[in-house]
């Protein structure tokens, strides 16, 4: 059991700033994920929590103990590495028992604890093998058993699933979630896989170039990304971003107008945003928040209604513009269409029954309640629309 606090942690490697002034408060028994592309500093941050790297500046606290200068062997942690790092010269039993042995746990107790951990990870039959005789998934289980056997306060995982094949990854993902439910430990999990982070975490920390972009629950990160980077990184397929300008029509309505589209929005939203006309923005809209319809023969771009096949049915939705289907990708339960909107590609998720195909002209409808506006320059979110 441990609460982990990071105060203004910074790490330089020569001239490179790997982690830049990061502060975090991780609650006891929380499952916290550090998410970001490679080189964003997430592993360095994890290593500093472990004590494997010493910070250039800042502090690490476990509960009310400042552990910044405490070497890893005297922190109450366990760690699973991307490469598993099983000791090749020891049998599985000794691998799992090694940490206990180093901490002076008597042999009989060691045996019991190893058996228990092996049972949890379902590797009892592997205990007398050498690591090289194990499959990738089995190694992963041994690595997890080695970590949980000591029942540490903080459990650190560095991309533990990235060396597994896709099917096994799904199995082990579930396994991890089960472990977190059973064990009373604080999990800090590093990954570059946004799906993993959404599924597993209580909270996600999105990082880029050594700094925190956003901290929040999976839902809040997904629904209200703080900037275009977070919006683009979390969610699959990535969010559609369209460049545009805020404009006011003669009737007083506000809209975002860009190449090939014009998306209306409620005046109240714009007022709340407090932005003047002419401002450059990026409009973000996820594939599942876009409706697509066939072009009506009489329809023009301002048509009030259309045969709408996605988005919010029942409400009145305005088409934002016409587009041409470029790619059709059926995925079983869903159909993804890539459509060309004024030269930009937009991904649309729709139902698999949809027969639209390459070359068809379609109308697009953005769910006004689900669009995101970002500053055209900085990429910061302008307004949480909901």
């Amino acid at each position: 059991m441990a609460r982990v606090r990071l105060n203004n942690l910074t790490k330089h490697f020569g001239d490179v700033v790997a982690v830049d002034d990061v502060s975090l408060d991780i609650a006891d028994r929380e499952f916290l994920t550090l998410l970001g592309p490679s080189g964003c500093g997430k592993t360095t941050l994890l290593n500093m929590i472990a004590g494997l790297e010493s910070p250039t500046a800042g502090e690490v606290w476990f509960d009310d103990r400042n552990v910044t200068a405490v070497p890893p062997e005297r922190r109450d942690i366990a760690m699973v590495f991307q490469t598993y790092a099983l000791y090749p010269h020891m049998h599985v039993f000794d691998n799992v028992a090694f940490g206990l042995k180093m901490r002076g746990v008597p042999a009989e107790d060691r045996k019991k604890l190893v058996q228990a951990a092996a049972k949890t990870m379902e590797i009892e039959h592997l205990l007398d093998r050498k690591p090289r005789a194990l499959s990738g998934g089995q190694r992963q289980r041994v690595a997890l058993a080695r970590a949980i056997v000591r029942n540490p306060g903080v459990f650190l995982l560095d991309e533990p699933l990235s060396n597994l094949d896709a099917q096994l990854r799904v199995v082990m993902r579930t396994e991890l979630k089960r472990l977190h439910g059973e064990l009373e430990m604080t999990f800090v999990y590093v990954t570059h896989d946004q799906a993993e982070s959404l599924i597993l975490s209580d909270r996600i920390v999105v990082m880029k170039e050594g700094t925190i972009q956003q901290i929040g629950t999976p839902e809040s990160i997904y629904d209200s990304p703080a900037n275009t980077f977070v919006a683009g990184f979390v969610g699959s397929p990535p969010i559609n971003l369209l460049k545009g300008v805020l404009e006011q029509t003669g009737g007083g309505d506000w809209r975002v107008v860009g190449e090939g589209f014009s998306c209306g929005m409620a005046t109240s939203m714009v007022e709340r945003m407090g932005q003047s006309a002419g401002r450059e923005v990026s409009l973000g809209v996820r594939a599942e928040d876009i409706g697509v319809g066939e072009v009506q023969s009489t329809a023009n771009s301002d048509s009030e209604t259309a045969s709408e096949t996605g988005g919010q049915s029942g409400t009145q939705v305005r088409s934002v513009g016409r587009a041409e289907v470029v790619v059709r990708e059926p995925m079983g339960s869903d159909l993804f269409l890539t459509v060309d909107v004024g030269g930009s590609n937009v991904k649309v998720r729709t139902r698999p029954e949809n027969r639209m195909d390459r070359g068809d002209n379609v109308e697009l409808y953005f769910d006004p309640g689900k669009i995101h506006l970002f500053d055209g320059e900085s990429g910061e979110a302008l307004l949480d629309i909901r």
Binding site: S54, A69, V70, P71, R74
Partner: protein, 309 residues
Amino acid sequence: MTVLRPFHLMSRTRDLLPLLLNLPAVILLLAFIAYPIGISFWMSLHRYNLRRPDQVYFHGLENYATILASSEFWNALWISLYFTFMAVLLVIVIAMAIALLLHESFRGRGVVRALLLIPWAIPGVVNGLMWVGLLGDYGAFNAMLEDSVAAVNYLFGINIVYTGMASPFVALNAAIGAHVWRSVPFACIIFLAAIQAIPTEQYRAARVDGATSWNRFRFITLPWLYHAVLVVAIFETMNGFRAFDLIYALTGGGPGDATHVIAWQTYKEAFARLDFGGANAYSYLITLITMTLAIIYIRLLYRRGLVQG
């Protein structure tokens, strides 16, 4: 906070610790390689003959001038160049052939691999003695050579007189053969490791593209081995110029001066004539030659690396 001190000490001495770990090795090498090399150069600029210890004086590059004007030096250099060139060539070809064999899978491969290290395990002096026997009057190889010369004479109706190790030509090439025999295993180990590092998909891809086995060797194996070949070439060039123990035991420099390789010449200069000044000048010239060759090789290696990069 006393607990924390050792860890802090570690990180503060980040640069000191590795230097400290290198210290024993560096001291040894400075004392027994760098320092002697300096002294050797200094001595090469002196007149220093042990027969006349009272007459030690500086006389600049005169030792070098004497050497470069002497026919013995040019003879030794020429012999060493021939020796080294042939040795490098033969070692590469034979080691490559055996490495390619060991890369194939067949029953008994383990046996061949176990036997591979035999020549390498044999000390140079013993190797020399061995070949003295093999090529001596009663030697098994000598008998084979005699028989084959006789056969050639009979077939072509000519009359080559085979005089064994008394012939300068036979002696020098026998020395090369013995040197090569002992050098093959090491080169073979390097080639084998390099061959095993070639991704098998490359061969599959080449097969799909319709390449013959010769073409697969020519266009996949060889380019992949370029680095290893150069490494072996560097090693063997240095070894070739150093060849001494074998010559000492096999030919003693003879017959005449036929196997006066440059290392042997230097040894003679120093410990037979006791001319330490001249011998040091000799050894400096050897160093210069091997270094020049090494630099050429390394440049080749580097340039190739850039091209592949």
